[in-house]
């Protein structure tokens, strides 16, 4: 669907520092159940636009709503994948619909979460890096 090569940057599965800063376009999907929390997919503006163009076709005047839609859907896919993997380990949960926010220096604080991860994924072709931040609490 996206056809972009990516590489995980060194220090994969780094623990997220609190508060975490997000810049650009960020999709979020929350989950509740045996695993509670939220996943953010954060893309710099240029990468978000490139992803939208890659999926929807090139459009130099693409409106921000379409870029938001793509980022929201990508976040849904990433969280769906996480959910599947966690469900197979006994941590089933239900997902919310995605929401998307834009801004610079957005601060996300992690309250009462036992898992706080920040994965950085570089896209060499566009020379930008996206982040997947997961803040979760696993129920025993």
């Amino acid at each position: 669907m996206l056809n972009l090569e990516v590489e995980i940057t060194d220090g994969a599965d780094d623990a997220a520092t609190s508060p975490t800063k997000l810049d650009g376009v960020s999709g979020s999907v929350s989950f509740t159940g045996k695993m509670n929390g939220v996943l953010y997919l954060n893309l710099p503006e240029g990468l978000a636009k490139a992803a939208a163009n890659r999926i929807l076709g090139d459009d130099p005047a693409r409106p921000p709503e379409e870029i938001n839609d793509v980022v929201g859907e990508l976040t849904n896919m990433v969280t769906g994948n996480l959910k599947s993997k966690m469900a197979d380990r006994g941590f089933n949960c239900a997902l919310s619909i995605p929401t998307v926010m834009r801004g610079v220096d957005i601060s996300v604080d992690t309250l009462k979460t036992s898992v706080a991860l920040n994965n950085s994924i570089r896209v060499p072709e566009i020379n930008e890096t996206m982040h997947i931040c997961i803040f979760a609490r696993l129920e025993e």
């Binding site: 999926i55 839609d69 929201g72 859907e73 959910k83 469900a87």
Partner: protein, 374 residues
Amino acid sequence: MAQPKILSVDDSKMIHMVIGRAFKNYNVELSFASNGVEGLAVATRENPDLIILDVTMPVMDGVETLSKLKADPLMKEIPVIMLTAEAGKENVVKIARMGIRDYIIKPFTEQVLLERVGRVLDLQPKGTGEVRNKTLEDAANVLVVDDKPAIIDQVRSAFAETSWRVTSAAQCGEAIDLSSKEVPDVILINLALPEGAAFNFFQMMRANTKTKGVPVFGMSVKTASEEQARAQSIGFNGVITKPLDGSELFYRVCRAMNVDTSSRYFFVENGIQICKMPNNPSQIVATELSNYILPKTREMVDAGLNRLLIDASDVNRIEMTIIKLMLQVVQACRELSIKFRVIGSPDFTGQARAFEETKDLEVFADKESALIGF
């Protein structure tokens, strides 16, 4: 072969665009809805041949939408392919049990989408022949495979008002012979034939390039849920329960064959469009007529006609279904600036006056009086 209709129900514009791009080179008619509520409304209106349904959506999600589709007698047979971002075994098993035809895990490629949809619909690349709906006036061959003569008679009776030929075979071997001599337009087969013969027959029809696109319906008694589920799962176009309901059988076979049945309700006489109201219409008949009202009124205006007679002379008793249909026609006429008049018996006129919605309608006793000054 008419253009298959595909409805995509997804809250993401991106998915709609990806689907639109995947099918741009194929003869399909696409429609879109952004949640389950909209999807059900579009499905009711458009009668799609396939629904591609997302699981996670606002307002009404895919699971609830699917359960409503399966509870609706008019839409329960529409094949559904579900889209889900959740590839876990538990989730896949859960959605597979809900009576879907297939599922696609996001992200997906256009090739995967085309391949899965191609298993359900006969996808024709654009430019491969003229696309035109069959009409009731066209010849058609309905093959019934059943060893019960009474069932053959009931099928014949359901299609008595058409010029279609109903041929019958008591056994599958005979049906295969008949199909090889002349490919039928639709096949109805008794699912209870001995040794699962109906299912083997279906597989043979699908394996043959000549007959793989022929709609096949199973016939089964209402309580035989196991054989009905088996038929659905291997891809029968639907199951029709016995005792056969003639109007349901007619409607579903026409839909599967993409037959334009509008001539039952809409026709032109001496430059005037007639809309014939059926007497005591079943839900299926009412839906069928309702689906034609907008396109046929638009079509008549496009053809230069501006007068329409609502012929309710066959209607003996007015009830809400008839009132709703009449109001739909009246509204379409008003929106398109079509002059209209209503014909009905004196009894009909009396009943119409008793309803708030129709009390002001002027009803003429017959066509001649309705045409004076029209």
